[in-house]
């Protein structure tokens, strides 16, 4: 029986907007799949492109950049 695909997703979030948005999703009890791991940055402008490559290199199925 094929196993259900359970992706590993790394997300980068800006402290001021999308991280706050993820907080709001929590306060609003909006349910979503638990396959995402969020990394807080102080600004999405802080995201060095190599972070994305690093995530894929280590086996991430997807990278979400928000900000």
């Amino acid at each position: 029986m094929p196993e259900e695909f359970d992706p590993k997703i790394v997300a980068f979030a800006c402290n001021w907007c999308s991280y706050a948005g993820a907080d709001l999703a929590g306060v609003g009890r909006m349910q979503y799949p638990p396959s995402i791991r969020l990394i807080r940055l102080m600004c999405s402008g802080m995201l060095v492109p190599s972070y994305i490559l690093r995530a894929f290199e280590k086996g991430a199925d997807g990278v979400l950049v928000t900000g």
């Binding site: 929590g26 609003g28 009890r29 349910q31 102080m42 600004c43 802080m46 492109p49 690093r54 991430a60």
Partner: protein, 1010 residues
């Protein structure tokens, strides 16, 4: 009278009002004694489940404030105490306070709870309205402050002459002392702020609704406890009679409100919104619930309230029935409840419900009234504190100020505004005593851990059931304990509670931690608290990290408990990996320009400017026209009858005579640079002259305006007027308005509609005021008010009552069928008669349109200049709708008056005093605390290419020639926002951001996908 002044203040009441006033006073450099009757402070707000209109968890937003208060060395919490006497005069009082014996020594009690666990006596828990039990030695709620237990002598066996003494035996700290006595203390203070809050009307007298007899009839505050996760049913909506989940729940509004027979003629202001919120939240807890609200008028008069109400109707599944409820009948067997009511068409109906919530009216408590009498403060016939509209926080007794629901029923943000205003007015009075009685918090020196191996402590929070009901917290702790670098891992019920802070400090010492992680909620609200705790234990605050296992885990994966637990472990592992790489960082102190810019020369702007100037700070007041006063010129008097024009002229004179205030007329802002402490604002003055103003803080008080309607034939006939135009006609003595046979007022003209979905708040009250005056002068004249809901909130209700008594006719219309106006020799106003059916036509001599208040069009431009925001309606958006109503999210910028939302004059003045006082707090500090999380450039690697200079949006890096032809970039930390854009573009890796260095992030990535 002596001129002695004392730099200390007593605040009475430990609810949100007293807490906010105390924090503001301490922040302004005054010693504070917070006196509360209850064993723990927190007041009603601590008992609430959620708050409207944002559905914020009340405890979650209030707890950090309580923590900050408890940690402030200049605030002494004098709980379980009351004022017995006062002597002296304003500026120099001696206040005698009785500290009641708790029979537990607060200095020894660690709040471990062993006493309560072993105490054999169970008592119905009044904090939860008797739906669960507590012990005879108890604490009202887990996070209660001060964190100390209290013996209830009415139930304790020892005090009932029986054999016991168990608590004293089991207390590991030896804190129980049955011989303890009351203590009388005397405090020398310059002022007293009364914020004792309110209590509910005693519903045992309201037999028609069956509370106290019918088990499934509960009151509003009781419902908050039932809905609360920390309440008697852990947040599961439960019917008290049989523990079943109720399906049909009814809320009945105005129980002992707007009811003169019960001695409660006022509107309690908060119940409509609170009931709508409870209905929405109950349905959120259990989607099968069918909520119904029985009401007379829905009073959703505050910011974003009407949107909340509309949403509850459409998306929230809440049914609203306009009605008068005559009685609630309890079925003696099933305990279901029959509600008998008269509907809006005057038909008598009956409907059965599983549970009924009474929105019971609020009033000052006997204790508060007694204290007020001791303080010689005048109260009105309903025992609320008397104040004037122009000095909304001053009582009749000099040096005694008031805030919150003791003055009139009101919601949290209004209470917070008044608390800050009262603190501000007290500070103005005592300004020269600033910092005379306060002490700086003694912090231990920071330990230097550089070069040491990481010793990480992890504190995993259960957050009551918020985390623990989804995530297997003990399982998480077991896994985390095994991680490299982790030397301690443990769980807490509420990691943010005061007793846990003490525990955390102990753990840091015992395990010699050099880094710590709290796995709980969002760092956006709670990181500062844990940083402070760590700092008190000698740990640099940048060695503290959080893992958000609530908002980002337990709350969003409620049905996948196992995976949520795995995710929580991963999130903490990521935090551990990052934390191991963290370094100590120092915050910086930046210089402060100690002057202010107030934008807008109306009453709000002038009040804020006078507050700032009184505290000694030079203030620039910017006005776009050639005249101070703003909208107030269009008003005649307040609802209470106070004459506005002499007040306004007096205020303008004060501003013009004040040497510290510079007024700039005909001025507008061209550009704004800088940040808190160092703003540079370029303005254009009369004649096109440009000037640059340096200022440390700014207050936005730009006002709003009356909408010019395009409805009801406005503009086609001089007999059709807006409120402002009507006031002018009345002021001018126009016989056409004073001698009219028939005058019609239409409410909600341009308000509460699709284009302007807000209630303009002031119009119902304004109409009632005009109607009374017209009717009293010309009793033969007929007056009709066509309305949707009459919103004479709070103590204004008595004027609505008076208008009806005088014979003013109030007729309701539905928004789908608004009145129609035909202009002829008379104005023909027709509307659908909702009671009798058919159409009613009124031949009127005058028509007054209660037109909407609209935000200024250039708010958006100003918002861009100061990096602040507006809401979707165009009003400025404060930092937090409940707890920070005068602050912006941008540091150093504050908000007051109509620019925030439509409001009456007294509220405008209170908000302006609050904004001025918050602005002055920052200026008084004399420097700006800036985070150390800024860019740093390693000159060894920098090759002076200048890419960072081109990239930085804040102009922080600059190329400097260090030797001939050799350039290196240098960052000005005052301008750096720590965004990290420079580090991304830097080709050599010379630029990096402190606390967000590459290896501190890469470690997290590796663990996240491992």
């Amino acid at each position: 009278m002596s001129n002695k002044k004392i730099g200390a203040v007593v605040t009475v009441g430990g609810g949100i009002g007293g807490v906010q006033a105390s924090l503001d006073l301490a922040e302004s450099g005054f010693k504070v004694y917070l006196v509360d009757e209850k064993p723990c402070i927190g007041g009603v707000m601590a008992q609430l489940d959620k708050t409207f209109p944002t559905n914020d968890c009340s405890a979650c937003i209030f707890s950090p404030k309580l923590q900050t208060l408890a940690q402030n060395p200049n605030i002494e919490i004098v709980a379980y105490s009351r004022i017995e006497a006062i002597e002296g005069a304003a500026g120099d009082f001696r206040v005698k306070v009785r500290r009641k014996a708790r029979y537990v020594d607060p200095a020894k009690c660690t709040s471990c709870g062993a006493c309560a666990q072993k105490c054999p006596t169970k008592v119905p828990n009044e904090y939860n309205f008797g739906h669960d039990v507590r012990k005879a030695i108890y604490k009202d709620y887990a996070q209660g402050i001060p964190s100390v237990y209290t013996i209830d002598t009415d139930h304790c066996r020892v005090f009932q002459g029986k054999k016991c003494g168990v608590c004293a035996k089991v207390c590991p700290a030896g804190a129980v002392d049955y011989e303890q006595k009351d203590v009388i203390e005397e405090f020398e203070v310059g002022a007293v702020i009364m914020a004792p809050g309110y209590e509910l009307f005693d519903t045992s007298n309201v037999s028609e609704y069956g509370h106290g007899i019918a088990p499934n009839v509960v009151v509003n505050l009781e419902m908050e406890r039932i809905l609360s996760a920390s309440g008697p049913f852990s947040g599961v909506v439960t019917r008290p009679s049989d523990g079943r989940h109720p399906k049909k729940i009814a809320w009945i509004q105005c129980v002992a409100s707007r009811d003169r027979r019960k001695g409660m003629p006022h509107c309690s202001s908060v119940c409509c919104m609170a009931s709508i919120k409870q209905a929405v939240i109950a349905k959120e807890h259990d989607a099968t619930i069918e909520p119904t609200i029985f009401f007379m008028d829905i009073r959703a008069y505050g910011k974003d309230f009407d949107k909340y109400y509309e949403k509850a109707k459409t998306d929230g599944g809440v049914r609203f029935i306009r009605s008068m409820v005559s009685r609630v009948v309890d079925d003696p067997v099933s305990h279901d409840l029959d509600i008998v009511y008269l509907d809006s068409e005057s038909k008598l109906k009956t409907e059965t419900f599983d549970m009924v919530v009474l929105a019971v009216g609020i009033k000052p408590s006997d204790e508060a009234v007694e204290t007020a009498r001791l303080l010689n403060v005048d109260l009105d016939t309903e025992r609320f504190c008397v104040t004037g509209s122009f000095e909304p926080v001053k009582t009749s007794s000099p040096g005694i100020f008031v805030a919150g629901a003791f003055q009139a029923p009101k919601d949290i943000p209004q209470t917070v505004m008044e608390a800050s205003a009262a603190a501000g007015v007290a500070v103005r009075m005592l300004a020269d005593q600033r910092n005379t009685l306060t002490s700086k918090k003694e912090l231990p020196p920071e330990k230097d851990f550089s070069g040491q191996e990481p010793r990480i402590g992890v504190f995993v929070c259960r957050c009551g059931i918020n985390i623990a009901s989804t995530v297997d917290v003990p399982g998480v702790v077991d896994k985390i304990r095994e991680l490299p670098g982790v030397v301690y891992a443990g769980e807490n019920l509420f990691t943010c509670s005061q007793d846990t802070q003490a525990q955390i400090k102990n753990v840091i010492q015992e395990h010699n931690l050099n880094r710590m992680i709290v796995a709980s909620c969002t760092p956006r609200t709670h990181l500062p608290l844990f940083q402070e705790t760590a700092r008190e234990a000698g740990l640099n605050k940048y060695l503290v990290e959080m893992a958000n296992i609530r908002e980002h885990c337990s709350w969003v994966h409620m049905s996948e408990k196992e995976k949520a637990t795995d995710k929580a472990v991963d999130l903490i592992k990521m935090a551990v990996a990052r934390t191991a790489k963290l370094e100590q960082v120092q915050d910086q102190q930046l210089p402060m320009v100690q002057s202010a810019l107030v934008i807008g020369g109306g009453v709000a702007g002038m009040a804020a400017a006078l507050n700032l100037a009184d505290q000694g700070f030079p203030t620039h007041l910017l006005e776009t026209t050639d005249k101070l006063g703003g909208n107030a010129w269009n008003l005649s008097h307040t609802l209470k009858g106070e004459n506005i024009q002499p007040f306004l002229e007096g205020m303008i004179k004060k501003v013009q005579d004040e040497p510290k205030i510079t007024v700039h007329f005909d001025s507008s802002i061209k550009d704004v640079h800088g940040f808190v402490g160092a703003f540079k604002t370029e303005i254009t003055e009369a004649g096109g002259v440009s000037e640059v103003i340096d200022h440390g803080v700014a207050v936005v008080a730009t006002g709003a305006s009356e909408w010019k309607p395009d409805l009801y034939s406005y503009g086609q006939d001089p007999r059709i007027r807006t409120h402002f135009e009507m006031t002018k006609a009345m002021k001018d003595g126009d016989p056409q308005v004073w001698k009219a046979d028939t005058t019609v007022f239409i409410q909600c003209v341009g308000s509460r509609c699709q284009e302007r979905p807000w209630c303009s708040k002031v119009c119902c009250n304004h109409t009632v005021m005009d109607a009374i005056e017209l009717k009293e002068t010309n009793p033969a004249g007929k007056i009709f008010v066509l309305y949707r809901d009459i919103r004479t909130f709070g103590l204004n209700e008595s004027y609505y009552e008076k208008a009806r008594r005088l014979g003013v006719i109030f007729a309701r219309y539905e928004p789908e069928a608004p009145p129609a106006v035909q202009v002829g020799s008379k104005l023909q106003v027709s509307l659908k008669d909702l009671v009798l059916g058919g159409t009613m036509t009124i031949s009127a001599d005058n028509l007054v349109l209660a037109s909407a208040i609209i935000p200024n069009e250039n708010n958006k431009e100003l918002a861009k200049f100061f990096k602040i925001s507006t809401n979707e309606d165009g009003y400025f958006l404060e930092a937090h709708m409940k707890l920070r109503p005068v602050d912006f999210a941008t540091d150093g910028v504050f908000l007051a008056g109509l620019a925030h939302y439509p409001k009456p004059l007294d509220e405008t003045i209170a908000q302006a005093e609050a904004a001025g006082s918050h602005a002055a707090q920052i200026l008084a500090r004399g420097y700006v605390e800036a985070p150390g999380m800024v860019s740093v450039i390693d000159p060894y690697f920098c090759r002076g290419c200048g890419r960072c200079v081109d990239t930085c949006p804040f102009h922080a890096p600059e190329l400097k020639e260090v030797s001939p032809g050799v350039f290196k970039s240098e960052v000005n930390p005052a301008l750096c926002k720590g965004c990290g854009a420079c580090a991304v573009v830097c080709p050599t890796g010379a630029a990096s951001i402190r606390h967000f260095k590459d290896d501190q992030i890469v470690q997290m990535i590796d663990v996240a996908v491992a």
